[in-house]
């Protein structure tokens, strides 16, 4: 207790990819005045990539993350394509798209089945000791097994193309390093029916249990914001190419047809002393009013159709959650992930059926033709930008990475504040309430190891707690 305020700390926040803590500030009446989602990791990729040849960047930046290395691999290879100024072979584009869909599938399956299903199926007030994937295996063994196998299928898609499940170094500036074999295509086709069945089952299950979480949906990140993502021609859902679109909560298109190369015109980046994670915002609306969300929820809110029949039907049902308008509660990120998994399975199937998918013409060769290149792609968690400046030989001079989780930073903080204000009154804080705050953050499926790649000064916060749990003193080094 320090004067009239009290600080509640949740550290660490569990079942996220990375490490973070949340602090909640109360006034003397026990009302929540502020809540912050602190990212306490530090990486440094933007700095130590300087001086490396651009051809090595996909594999180096792929190492940013073990969950979504493919996203970095592809965005980096695309930035490399831009620097070589080549149109890569169509076959290479097809294979890269396939790998990205495998990535969506495995990452979304991880988020839904391993990390979030325990909250959704075992109840947010359940015992934390069993409210995890092991508890899920006990309570719903079939679903847990199917979920794990679905993630495995996504991983196998990646392995069949890139040679390994995690950190393949397969996409390169100019294309990809190896084609898909007939044998691997057959292997993937065999697993497709099971994957489709699992996604459909999970989708039905979510639709069934969602009404039970109406209160959470209203209190966990339900607020108006902008949404951003890539869309294809005629506004169709997109995951690898296309143009950037910003839409608002009413369904209006705020900015459209933006070449991802021009992202700096639209996106600004702010920094706060208490987090390693930057705070991107939509420039025209200023900071922090220019808050926007990216990822599954945003993609489904800005697109006009899904492009495949089953996903289209699921998307229509998803949008009906808010009467056809954009869905504003972050709780429905879970729902959006399931719709995207359905789209991924359908698109993997059609992709594997394309006659040119086995072509070995998969790599274009070129020298350094531009000194600046941007690669943008949709990662499972949202739009990812790799922006490189090179010298005439192709050595990196400057590297800027804008990560999906970073772009959701403002919205995650807003979610934490909203949840804290809704659930925390007075001194008594039952386990279930803190869980809901964590679950609010978890709905974004943040990847903190990915998003703290930048080099900067280390913010340090020291909080001294008294025997009563209150804050006695606090020092901050900026």
């Amino acid at each position: 207790m320090s004067g009239n305020t009290k600080t509640i700390t949740i550290d660490p926040v569990t079942r996220l990819e990375g490490h973070a803590k949340i602090t909640i500030h109360q006034d003397k009446n026990g009302d929540v005045t502020d809540a912050r989602f602190h990212i306490t990791e530090f990486r440094g990729f933007e700095k130590f990539c300087e001086g490396r040849p651009v051809w090595e960047m996909p594999a180096i930046t792929g190492r940013i993350c073990g969950i979504c290395p493919v996203s970095h691999l592809l965005a980096s290879a695309k930035a490399g394509d831009d620097i070589l100024a080549v149109a890569i072979p169509r076959e290479a584009t097809r294979l890269r798209r396939l790998m990205n869909l495998g990535q969506f599938l495995q990452s979304h399956a991880l988020s839904f089945f391993h990390l979030s299903a325990p909250d959704l199926l075992l109840g947010m007030d359940g015992d934390p000791a069993t409210r995890n994937v092991f508890g899920l295996m006990k309570e719903a063994p079939d679903l847990a097994r199917e979920g794990i196998r679905l993630r495995q299928f996504g991983q196998i898609v990646i392995e069949c193309l890139g040679g390994k499940k995690i950190h393949p170094s397969w996409a390169v500036p100019g294309g990809v390093s190896a084609p898909l074999s007939e044998e691997n295509r057959s292997l993937l086709r065999e697993r497709l029916p099971e994957a489709l069945q699992t996604v459909q089952k999970a989708l039905s299950l979510f639709q069934e249990i969602a009404p039970k979480f109406a209160a959470e949906a209203a209190a966990l990140g339900d607020f108006p914001s902008l949404f951003m993502g890539l869309v294809g021609e005629n506004g169709v859902w997109e995951h690898y190419e296309g143009k950037l679109r910003f839409g608002d909560s009413e369904g209006a298109i705020v900015a459209d047809g933006i070449d991802p190369r021009d992202y700096r015109t639209y996106i600004g980046e702010a920094v706060e002393s208490w987090s390693y994670l930057k705070f991107p915002y939509y420039k025209k609306h200023g900071y922090p009013e220019g808050m926007y969300r990216v990822g599954p929820l945003a993609r489904l809110n800005i697109c006009e159709s899904m492009g495949t029949p089953r996903a289209e039907a699921a998307w229509q049902a998803f949008r009906q959650t808010s009467g056809g308008k954009p869905v504003t509660s972050s709780f429905y990120y879970h729902y959006a992930r399931l719709v995207e998994m359905l789209a991924a399975v359908e698109r993997i199937e059609s992709g594997l059926n394309e006659p040119e998918v086995l072509s070995d013409h998969v790599r274009a060769d070129a020298g350094i033709n531009r000194l600046h290149g941007v690669g943008a792609s949709e990662a499972p968690r949202g739009t990812l930008f790799h922006d490189y400046t090179v010298d005439r030989q192709g050595l990196i001079q400057k590297c800027n990475l804008i990560i999906a989780t970073g772009q959701n930073n403002l919205a995650m903080n807003r979610t934490v504040l909203q949840a804290a204000q809704h659930y925390i009154k007075g001194d008594s804080i039952p386990e279930g309430l803190l869980n809901r705050i964590e679950a609010g953050v978890r709905s974004f499926d943040p990847c903190l190891s990915c998003s703290t790649h930048a080099f900067g000064q280390m913010p340090l916060q020291v909080v001294l707690y008294g025997p009563d749990g209150g804050t006695l003193d606090e020092r901050t080094r900026d």
Binding site: G51, R63, Q393
Partner: protein, 238 residues
């Protein structure tokens, strides 16, 4: 000339006349780990990985530059040798910036292979993290000093087989670097013939084909051997 008879690891063996201890061992199916040695060019004794014990000599001797002599008793495998070899490997890893997972030679690197064979699972010495440069001014090739172990294969192959002597070593001690011509960018070298022998000879990912991504730098040592053999046998002489 008669053969040389010596004992390797307690076995009485014979070696070709003029053979080194390393050659004598190989002729008799005994493997000694090497890094700087390359078939087809002279030996330098630079890496010290092929150190062996020779009876009557307290110091360890590099097998590649020690002549096999009559009655010599050689030990190629012992706890002491393995300890030293591991230390040499660890020092090589600590000296520069070897990051296997993102290296162009990952999976095709002799330094990496020797470390795996030796069972080197960690480095006990402080990494030096020197600030080194990458030179990709050459039209087709690049040199990343971070990955160079100063084995001088490039220097020898360029001098002895190509006859260009583009490569040499500058500096002393930890400041030693392989350089092209008079320490100028490779792309500005007057002597380089772009023959790629140094690229094929390099044991690590230090010298590489431009545009290579992780794990793509495979080396064709057989090409070096082919050229060396052909020269020796004067196959190209009129």
């Amino acid at each position: 000339m008669t053969v040389t008879t010596l004992t390797i690891n307690g076995e009485l063996v014979s070696a070709s006349p003029g053979a080194s201890v390393l050659e004598a061992a190989r002729e008799n199916g005994v493997e000694i780990p090497t890094l700087c040695e390359l078939e087809g060019i002279s030996s330098a004794g630079a890496c010290r990985l092929c150190l062996v014990e020779i009876s009557g000599t307290p110091r360890l001797q590099p097998a590649c530059v020690t002549a096999a002599t009559e009655g010599m008793e050689v030990q190629t495998d012992s706890e002491r040798l393995n300890r030293y070899r591991r230390m040499i490997l660890e020092l090589l890893f600590a000296e520069r910036n070897h990051i296997c997972p993102v290296c162009v030679a990952n999976g095709h690197c002799e330094l990496q292979s020797r470390a795996i064979e030796n069972g080197m699972d960690h480095v006990r010495f402080s990494y030096q993290h020197p600030d080194l440069s990458v030179d990709i001014t050459h039209e087709r090739f690049g040199i990343d000093q971070d990955r160079c172990i100063l084995c001088t294969r490039c220097v020898r192959v360029c001098d002895e087989l190509e006859g260009a002597h583009t490569w040499d070593v500058a500096g002393r001690g930890t400041k030693s670097r392989v350089i092209t011509d008079l320490n100028q960018p490779w792309g500005e070298s007057d002597t380089c013939t772009s023959c790629a022998k140094c690229v094929e000879a390099c044991p690590t990912g230090a010298i590489f084909r431009k545009g290579s991504s992780v794990g793509e730098m495979e080396h064709r040592r057989d090409r070096i051997r082919f050229i060396a053999d052909a020269r020796k046998k004067k196959e190209w002489s009129p």
